[in-house]
């Protein structure tokens, strides 16, 4: 006698199931999640070692340095986004499922943000203190990272999908994705600087929010197209 799965499941339930799956997988492979965070700290600490500990200089550099370090750390974990599912055939099944692939991709990008972007947001103040940022700047920094890192995950998912199963995927992914990250970097670091200069960070933060909304709509489309191409 055959058993049969009954009860229809709504789309939100599928999205939550995908999120839960990604998070539980990451929790079982903690090393993969923690390594980019450690990388974030290491890179940010390299700059003072490179330019000297003069506090005025470090303070000036801080937003840019922290943002670049966050960019690079977020990018490190992008490869993991689709690679394991591609290798074991789960990605194929996702592409063949009745759930729209765009939604699954958005769920994966969201999980990437939760696992790499959000920790960066939480760790940035600690590093910011090392650079001498005051509490107000730290707040703006966190807010800019909070608005910017989801965009990084979404844009990054396009690159991850394009380089699936390709030779030298890691470095190639960086080359493809970093130029696209530049606007986020400019507005993110610029927000902290503008606030420190007394010009107010609202313009920058709204632009970051606009970029987030744009990428929320368009990145899943591009990623879905890229995934189907990689699965051919």
């Amino acid at each position: 006698m055959k058993q049969q799965a009954s009860e229809k499941v709504g789309l939100t339930a599928v999205l939550l199931a995908t999120l839960r799956r990604e998070v539980s997988l990451a929790m079982r492979q903690k090393g993969e999640v923690l390594t980019p965070l450690v990388f974030f700290v290491v890179i940010a600490s390299l700059f003072p070692l490179g330019v000297g500990p003069e506090s005025a200089l470090l303070l000036r550099m801080a937003p840019g340095v922290l943002w670049v370090s966050a960019l690079l750390a977020a990018m490190l974990s992008l490869q993991r986004l689709f690679a394991t599912d591609y290798a074991d055939g789960s990605l194929e099944q996702m592409a063949l499922s009745s759930t729209p692939l765009g939604l699954l991709v958005a769920a994966k990008a969201l999980s990437h943000f939760l696992l790499s972007g959000l920790p960066l947001v939480l760790m940035a103040p600690v590093l910011g203190l090392q650079f001498g940022l005051d509490s107000r700047s730290l707040g703006i920094l966190m807010l800019s990272l909070l608005l910017g890192t989801p965009t990084l995950s979404l844009i990054g998912s396009i690159g991850a999908a394009l380089t699936l199963g390709v030779r030298g995927a890691g470095v190639l992914l960086s080359l493809l994705v970093l130029p696209l990250y530049i606007p986020v970097l400019i507005f993110g670091a610029g927000a902290v600087e503008a606030d420190a200069a007394g010009l107010g960070a609202n313009g920058h933060l709204s632009l970051l929010a606009a970029l987030l909304v744009l990428s929320l709509f368009f990145a899943p489309l591009a990623t879905t197209a890229a995934l189907r191409i990689s699965l051919e």
């Binding site: 055959k2 049969q4 997988l25 055939g89 789960s90 063949l96």
Partner: protein, 220 residues
């Protein structure tokens, strides 16, 4: 018999899979061309041919994973590219890969896969289907701790839980022992008996119940 097919939403007409003048080329070389077939409910298609002739490519084209450069594939009279979502709802594909996450338990894997297909399973259903496939009692085990054969059987369990009417199976009998082969053959026979369709490739000739195969031979 508790048949999944009868719960399928659109059982107004008997489903039909047909393809017409299909061709495939890989790396500039033509593999096969002008392949036609019509498969009706309750029948199964056995695709045969030498190694490298393109059987897997044909199956992937049927699923919509690979693009059809030549020819057309239709499900219930409509081309599949025009009805991607509803076609995929009716389709279950089992390829060479098991699509099982090693770091997750059997139960978690099956739950996720059925959720993707838009349905939900409870613990009892999972236990029962695993038992049927000879991997009972392993629902809480990590997939990583199963043997190759056991992993394959869990992958087959996904088939049993799926409400899809068209099954596309790429060498499903490979690396299975006699008991496993019989299990799968019976499963397919039940599926066909309930009005489903199956397309499969295999190097072994396996009888499926008393239903004769429709044979499609591919050659260059």
């Amino acid at each position: 018999m508790n048949s999944p097919i009868l719960r399928s939403p659109s059982l107004k007409t008997a489903p039909t899979l047909s393809f017409y003048k299909l061709g495939c080329s890989k790396g500039g070389r033509k593999l096969f061309k002008d392949v036609d077939c019509t498969l009706e409910a309750g029948k199964w298609l056995y695709i045969t041919g030498a190694n490298g002739v393109g059987k897997t490519s044909l199956l992937r084209m049927l699923c919509g994973l690979a693009p059809t450069e030549f020819g057309e594939i239709s499900w219930n009279g409509t081309p599949i590219h025009a009805q991607r979502e509803s076609y995929q709802r009716d389709l279950c594909y089992l390829g060479h890969l098991n699509a099982l996450q090693e770091s997750m338990t059997v139960s978690e894997n099956l739950r996720f896969m059925t959720a993707l297909g838009g349905s939900q399973v409870d613990k009892d259903q999972i236990d029962e289907v695993l038992l049927r496939f000879g991997v009972g009692g392993r629902s809480q085990q990590l997939v990583r701790h199963l043997s190759q054969g056991q992993k394959r059987r869990v992958a087959l369990a996904r088939l049993a839980l799926s409400p899809a009417r068209l099954w596309v199976l790429d060498e499903p009998f490979v690396a299975m022992d006699e008991a496993g082969i019989k299990m799968l053959a019976d499963l397919i026979a039940d599926h066909l008996g309930a009005g489903g369709l199956t397309v499969l490739t295999s190097h072994q000739q396996v009888p499926i119940g008393c239903i004769p195969a429709q044979i499609l031979e591919l050659h260059r």
